[in-house]
């Protein structure tokens, strides 16, 4: 059930409206210690050619042996995509020549991939959801890296990445805008991180996308598509789609035709350009890899992997809404990263007591997020523990401190009082809220007395209440309960 605003995604061209059709092939590096077919390390970085075995270097006589965990990760991911797990799949060789492909072929899965059709629910907003179909997921080897800028005449080849396991996740062409595509990749990334099958670090290249873009008049048959290769940030994915759609529309409106080709996104120029055209289209001469047998999965193993899958984002979001009464928006924000959702529940339930979910959520999404962003860290690593957050929320709930003072306490917990118990901080620094009616009366009286003329004016200008509240708060060092101050002032000023 798609609830897309159908017409809002159309692009207005010079001669009418156009619809953009987007499909994505995402390459996700599998989280595993060693490579898909060799025992070399998958660790990022490392001196050139140190994470390379003789198999990765394609020495004569070397043979592949498959890593069970990589297979498990693919199965788990397939389950997370609600996809069909193919109990029998085969490996094919994709043959081409390039210096970062030492074997002269990539071991991939062409005819029979390990995972078949599935789907992802993508929520762009509480009222705008799409379902994006997954065509297939298969396992394949990553290639090494060639550096072309180290010398004017030579290219430098590092095979560290050669042979690392990738999952290629192919979507159906169900997306209709750059925003939908970005939201899809974001959701896919979240699912992969929940499952733990890929860290989704696009900067490190753990997740890359090839984008298929075509345009058509609404209702017309599909247009010719172009593939934009190797886009490695969500922002660029959006920009690339928009640039390419514009390019294709301009050509078609001029009466031209779209050549099916492979293009690259030039971020600096904000446009796509054709990859150097080859004399012949790639003929990969796929055939089943004779060094490997068909992969046959035990149904019991697949069932066991399914049983141990963590709660996935959609289910968690639904549960947050149902059990914790959060809004769809708040739940979405919290479940975007599993660690954040876990942090939320940890703080919520800390010490066996339940706190107000909305309050906990607001702290996480507001102030804590701000501190985390400033430190360029994820919320769970920003510097505040779930226990500390729980205590802070409790202190407010108990009326010990006001919300304003709580913000100050938070600041201290990120600064001089790092790691401290919030209750101890409040006591030590005498931050307890003043709620005593007598003390508040006295403070209010004092301020009114010192500002007689303003007090008179306030009778006709009720907005001055705010100024008075501020004055009383200042006089009490911020510790008076603002609610009580406001009510007392209203009473005494006759508002």
């Amino acid at each position: 059930m798609t609830t897309e605003p159908a017409n809002a995604n159309l692009i207005a061209g010079a001669t009418g409206d156009w619809e953009v059709i987007v499909g994505l092939e995402v390459h996700a590096q599998v989280a595993s210690r060693s490579k898909l077919f060799s025992g070399a390390s998958t660790a990022f970085g490392g001196e050139p050619n140190t994470h390379v075995s003789l198999i990765d270097a394609a020495m004569p006589g070397m043979l592949p042996v498959i890593n069970r965990e990589c297979v498990a990760q693919a199965i788990r991911t397939g389950l997370g995509l609600k996809a069909k797990i193919n109990h029998r799949s085969t490996f094919d060789r994709k043959n081409y020549f390039y210096p970062d492909l030492p074997q002269g072929y990539q071991i991939s899965q062409y005819k029979s991939p390990i995972v078949g059709e599935g789907e992802i629910q993508v929520d762009l907003s509480p009222t705008y959801s799409i379902k994006v179909g997954i065509e297939r997921l298969h396992l394949e080897q990553d290639a090494g890296k060639s550096l072309h800028d180290q010398s004017p005449t030579m290219s430098f080849v590092d095979l560290n990445r050669s042979g690392v396991a990738l999952m290629e996740i192919v979507s159906k062409p169900d997306m209709r805008s750059a925003d939908e595509a970005k939201a899809y990749v974001s959701k896919l990334r979240t699912i992969l991180r929940y499952i733990g099958s890929c860290d989704g670090d696009m900067e490190k290249g753990s997740l890359r996308a090839d984008i298929n873009v075509s345009v058509r008049r609404p209702g017309a048959p599909l247009g010719t598509r172009c593939e934009i290769k190797n886009v490695n940030s969500i922002r660029f994915i959006g920009q690339a789609i928009e640039a390419e759609a514009r390019r294709q529309i301009a050509i078609l409106e001029d009466g031209g035709v779209i050549d099916q080709e492979t293009r690259l996104f030039d971020a600096a120029r904000g446009e796509t350009r054709s990859m150097r055209s080859k004399e012949e289209a790639h003929d990969y001469r796929y055939f089943p890899d004779p060094d490997l047998l068909p992969l046959e999965l035990d149904p019991e193993w697949v069932d066991a992997l399914a049983a141990y899958l963590p709660e996935l984002p959609d289910a968690k979001k639904a549960r947050f809404i149902a059990d914790h009464g959060l809004t769809a928006y708040d739940a979405s924000v919290l479940v975007a990263e599993k660690e954040t959702a876990d942090f939320f529940e940890s703080a919520l339930n800390h010490g066996g007591t339940k706190r107000d979910p909305k309050a906990v959520a607001n702290w996480i999404m507001g102030d804590l997020s701000a501190y985390a962003n400033a430190r360029n860290a994820p919320i769970v690593d920003a510097g505040l523990s779930a226990a500390q957050l729980a205590a802070l929320v409790d202190l407010i709930g108990e009326g010990v401190i006001s919300g304003k003072i709580a913000k100050d306490v938070l600041g201290l917990l990120f600064g001089e009082e790092k790691g401290a118990d919030p209750r101890a901080v409040v006591e030590k620094r005498g931050l307890r809220q003043v709620t005593d009616a007598g003390a508040i009366d006295a403070a209010v009286d004092a301020v009114i007395a010192a500002n007689g003329d303003k007090a008179e004016q306030a009778k006709t200008k009720p907005g001055m209440l705010g100024w008075f509240v501020g004055q009383v708060m200042k006089a009490t060092g911020g510790k008076a309960n603002p609610q009580a101050v406001s009510e007392t002032l209203k009473r005494k000023l006759g508002l």
Partner: protein, 95 residues
């Protein structure tokens, strides 16, 4: 089934084997001789027959996910025609 000179050039390029113009006709003749030899297979009835996937009935063995290899750069580069700073060097790849 036989191939023409253009096909010979195309196949040679796919296989990245440099073939001079002078050699091409001879190579064409050799390939066509072999293609003629295998032509007889066209007549065989293979309806409903599965292609051979593995001669021995075995399950694909899987290995544990552990780092058991690598850190052997010296061996990896030992036979390299040209290397520098731990990289393999090749003449510029034109993108």
């Amino acid at each position: 089934m036989s191939i023409d000179l253009a096909a010979v050039r195309r196949i040679a390029h796919l296989a990245r084997i440099g073939v001079s113009e002078a050699e091409t006709p001879h190579l064409q003749a050799e390939i066509n001789a072999i293609l003629r030899f295998v032509e007889a297979l066209e007549a065989v009835d293979v309806e409903g027959v599965e292609p051979m996937t593995s001669v021995t009935p075995m399950r694909l063995p899987m290995r544990e996910d552990a780092v058991t290899d690598g850190e052997i750069r010296d061996k990896v580069l030992a036979n390299a025609p040209l290397s520098e700073d731990g990289f393999f060097l090749v003449p510029k790849v034109i993108e």
